[in-house]
C-alpha cells in the first residue's frame, strides 16, 4: 500500500520524525480553516499517488485567506497526469505551514534485494529526482547497507551523515531523523520510507518536508489499527477493488483480452503471450490453486464487469487441482454467469485429457478449446479483434 504524502507524514510523526504542522482538506472552506489554524504563509499540496504534481500546479504557496481560497479551488479541480498520461483527479489537499529553507537534502531506506540488506541513501542534493542525481552525480549520494539482523547504530549513522557532506549544522538533526526513519522503515514494515526534501531551516532545524511511504501488505496483520485508517482513499482501479474483495490476484490493464490463469508465473506468462501475438490483455488474474467452480465464477464475474473485454482466455495448467475438476468448474461457472464475451480455454497438465473431454461435450461458439498456449492466445486475440 502506497501512502499519500499526508498519510506518510502522519506515519513519520508516530516515529518522532519532525514534520510541519498542517491538516487535510477536501473543500476550499476546510483548507481555509486549516490555514487559519496553522498561520500564514501556508503551502497547499495536492494529495495524489503520482509524482510531478509540482510542475502541474499541484503545489502552491498562499500568503493570506484569499490566496488559500484561490489556490485550493484551483488544486481541488486539477487532474494530475502521470508519465503515461493517466489522469488522477485531486480529491484532497494537505495544507501546512510554509517553511523557510536553507538547504534541501534527500534521505531514504529501502530493501537492496541483491545484497539482502537495507539500503540507506542520503544526499545533499535534495528536492530533485534522486534517480537523476544517481545518474549524473553518483558521488553526491552516500549509501549505507544495514544488516537487518543487526540494525543501525548511532555511530554508524553519524559516519554515514558525515560521508554525505551535509551542512555541519544539520548533522545532529539528520542523525536523529535518520535513526527515526530507520525505525519507521523497519518497525513500521515499510518497503520504502523516503524524505525528499529533508530540509535544514535557517535557524538550524532539520525536518521532513515531504513523505513517500510504501507499506508491506504482508505485514498488515501486525499494524491493523494504524493501517486501517490509511485505506479507502487510494484511487484504486474499480476492477482491482472488486477482485481484491474476492481475494483474487488481479492487475487491471487496458486491453480487450480478459485473462484467467492459475499461478502468478503462468498468469504473467499469459499476459506476455497475448501481447506477443498482437493482442492487448485487459488484465492479469491469478486464480490460484484449487480453481473450483466458485473461484471460476468469482474470476469470470470480475472480468465480465470490465466493459473493454471482448474475449476471455482461460489458461490453466493442472497440477494437484486436476483439469477435469477445472473443466467442470468452467462449465458450471458458465451456467451461473452470463458472459458477454466468448471463452477460449487451454488445459494442460494433470488429467488434461479428461478435462478436455468435458469441455468438448460443452463446446460452442461461446466456449472454444485450444490445444496449447500459443494457439489459444491467437484464437482469443482474433475473437477480440472481431468483436
Amino acid at each position: 500500500m502506497d501512502l499519500l504524502e499526508y498519510q506518510g507524514k502522519q506515519y513519520f510523526a508516530r516515529y518522532g520524525i519532525p514534520v510541519s504542522p498542517g491538516g487535510v482538506a477536501d473543500t476550499v472552506d476546510e483548507a481555509v480553516a486549516v490555514a487559519e489554524k496553522v498561520g500564514y504563509p501556508v503551502v497547499i499540496k495536492a494529495q495524489v499517488q503520482v509524482g510531478g504534481r509540482g510542475k502541474q500546479g499541484g503545489i502552491k504557496l498562499a500568503n493570506n485567506v484569499d490566496e488559500v481560497r484561490e489556490h485550493a479551488h484551483f488544486i481541488l479541480n486539477l487532474v494530475i497526469k502521470d508519465r503515461h498520461g493517466n489522469g488522477y483527479p485531486v480529491r484532497r489537499v494537505w495544507v501546512e505551514k510554509a517553511s523557510d529553507i536553507a538547504e534541501e537534502y534527500y534521505a531514504s531506506f529501502t530493501l537492496d534485494r541483491s545484497a539482502k540488506k537495507h539500503l540507506g541513501m542520503l544526499s545533499a542534493r535534495g528536492g530533485v529526482d534522486i534517480e537523476q542525481v544517481a545518474a549524473t552525480e553518483p558521488e553526491a549520494i552516500a549509501y549505507i547497507r544495514v544488516n537487518p539482523s543487526e540494525g543501525l547504530s548511532e555511530a554508524t549513522c553519524r559516519e554515514w551523515v558525515q560521508a554525505a557532506n551535509l551542512n555541519p549544522k544539520a548533522e545532529d538533526g539528520a542523525v536523529a531523523i535518520l535513526l527515526s526513519l530507520y525505525r519507521c522503515y523497519t518497525e513500521g514494515d515499510a518497503g520504502l520510507a523516503e524524505i525528499n526534501p529533508l530540509i535544514l531551516t535557517p535557524d538550524g532545524k532539520v525536518h521532513a518536508l515531504d513523505a513517500k511511504v510504501s507499506l508491506d501488505d504482508a505485514a498488515a496483520y501486525r499494524h491493523q489499527e494504524v493501517w486501517n485508517a490509511f485505506e479507502g482513499l487510494e484511487p484504486h482501479d474499480e476492477r482491482e477493488r472488486a477482485a481484491a474483495e474476492k481475494d483474487l490476484q488481479y492487475v487491471g490493464l487496458e486491453g480487450s483480452v480478459g485473462i484467467i490463469a492459475n499461478g502468478a508465473g503462468l498468469a504473467m506468462s499469459t499476459v506476455d503471450i497475448v501481447n506477443q501475438v498482437g493482442g492487448k490483455p485487459a488484465n492479469f488474474l491469478d486464480i490460484g490453486g484449487g480453481a473450483n467452480a466458485d473461484r471460476m465464477v468469482d474470476a469470470l464475474t470480475v472480468i465480465n464487469d470490465d466493459e473493454n473485454v471482448q474475449a476471455i482466455f482461460i489458461n490453466i495448467f493442472g497440477g494437484i487441482t486436476r483439469c477435469d475438476e477445472i473443466a467442470n468448474g468452467i462449465v458450471e461457472a458458465m451456467q451461473r454467469v452470463t458472459l458477454r464475451a466468448p471463452l477460449v480455454v487451454r488445459l494442460d497438465g494433470t488429467n488434461a485429457v479428461e478435462g478436455r473431454a468435458i469441455l468438448q461435450a460443452n463446446q460452442s461458439d461461446r466456449l472454444i478449446m485450444q490445444p496449447d498456449m500459443l494457439t489459444a492466445a491467437k484464437k482469443a486475440v482474433e475473437i477480440a479483434a472481431k468483436n
Binding site: 530493501l111 540488506k117 539482523s149 504482508a218 508465473g265 504473467m268 497438465g349
Partner: protein, 293 residues
C-alpha cells in the same frame, strides 16, 4: 543422484496438524518422502495417520532423527518456525508459506547466514522441492514429472515449473530435481545456489531456469553461468510485458525504478550463452536440442 533431497532424507513437517499441512504432508509421504514426524506443542503425543507429533523440532531430531523440515504454517508464525528448525539443528528447511513480511525475510536470511551458515532455507513462498521418483516436499504435482534425469529445474514460479516438468516429460526427458526458490523478495536459496548444485550433480546433464520480473537474481545467475556452469542451460522469463510499478501476483515480481525488467534479464542470460524460450511450451524442445535428442 538428486540434489538436496532424496528418499532417505528424514523430514519433519511443521504444520502437519493443520488442514493444508496434513493434505500436502500425507500426499508427499504417499509419493515416497520419508516423513518421520510432525510438530505441534498442543498435540504432542498424538499422531497424524501414523506420523508421530512432537512438541518441538528438537524432539523430532532426538527421537526420529529428523534432518529436513517442511514448514507449512501461517505467515505470522513462519519466521519463528524457521528459527526453531535452524536452532534445533535442521540443515534443510523448506518453507512454502506465502505473505511473510519482507523485513522478517531479510532478518531471517541474514541471521541464518551469520549463525547457521550450513543450514539451507528454500523459500519462502515456494512450491517446494521434488526429486522425481524419490521424494517430494511441498506442492509440486508429481503427476507431470518423470524420474531418472538428466534435467535439473529451478524456478521462482510454481506453475511455470510444473509446466516445464510437463514439457520435458512429454518429450520423454526425465528430471533429477525440481527446486522452487519462490516468488518473494528475499529467497533463502538463490538461482546460483541451485545452479552450483546441479553443476556438481553427476546425473544432471542440463538445467532449466525459470525466472520472472523483479530484482536482479536472474542477472546475477547469468553472470554465474557465464563463469561457472558448463552444462547447457535453458531459461524462460515471465513478465516481458508487465507494467512497471505493479506487483504481478508474487511479492517479488515488480519492476521498480526501471529495474528488474524481463528484457534486461533475457539479454543477460543470452549473453551468458543461455537459450531463452519465448514461451513456456518451447522449453521442452530447447532442452531436447541442448541434449542432442
Amino acid at each position: 543422484m538428486a540434489i538436496f533431497l532424496d528418499e532417505t532424507t528424514k523430514v519433519v513437517v511443521q504444520g502437519l496438524t493443520g488442514k493444508q499441512g496434513q493434505f500436502y504432508g500425507l500426499r508427499n509421504r504417499t509419493y515416497g518422502t520419508n516423513i518421520v514426524a510432525g510438530v505441534n506443542p498442543k498435540k504432542a503425543g498424538t499422531d497424524v495417520e501414523g506420523i508421530p507429533i512432537y512438541a518441538t523440532v528438537k524432539d523430532t531430531i532426538e527421537k526420529e532423527g529428523a534432518e529436513a523440515a517442511f514448514i507449512i504454517v501461517p505467515a505470522s508464525v513462519a519466521a519463528d518456525s524457521i528459527v526453531e528448525a535452524a536452532d534445533a539443528g535442521i540443515k534443510l528447511i523448506i518453507c512454502v508459506t506465502e505473505h511473510i513480511p519482507a523485513h522478517d525475510q531479510a532478518r531471517i536470511y541474514n541471521w541464518l547466514k551469520a549463525t547457521h551458515p550450513n543450514t539451507r532455507l528454500i523459500g519462502p513462498n515456494c512450491a517446494g522441492i521434488l526429486s522425481p521418483g524419490r521424494a517430494n516436499i511441498g506442492f509440486t504435482p508429481t503427476e507431470v514429472c518423470k524420474p531418472g534425469g538428466p534435467v535439473g529445474v529451478v524456478s521462482r514460479s510454481g506453475t511455470l515449473a510444473y509446466q516445464a516438468l510437463y514439457e520435458l516429460t512429454v518429450q520423454n526427458i526425465g528430471q533429477t530435481t525440481c527446486v522452487g526458490i519462490g516468488g518473494d523478495p528475499v529467497p533463502g536459496t538463490s538461482f546460483i545456489d541451485v545452479l552450483e548444485a546441479f553443476e556438481q550433480d553427476a546425473e544432471t546433464g542440463a538445467i532449466v531456469m525459470i525466472g520472472e520480473i523483479g530484482g536482479t537474481a536472474e542477472e546475477e545467475a547469468a553472470d554465474y553461468i557465464k563463469h561457472h556452469i558448463k552444462k547447457p542451460v535453458v531459461a524462460y522469463i515471465a513478465g516481458m510485458t508487465a507494467p512497471p510499478g505493479k506487483k504481478m501476483g508474487h511479492a517479488g515480481a515488480i519492476i521498480s525504478g526501471g529495474k528488474g525488467t524481463a528484457a534486461g534479464k533475457i539479454e543477460a542470460l543470452q549473453a551468458a550463452g543461455v537459450s531463452v524460450a519465448n514461451n513456456p511450451t518451447e522449453i521442452g524442445g530447447l532442452v531436447a536440442k541442448a541434449l542432442g535428442r
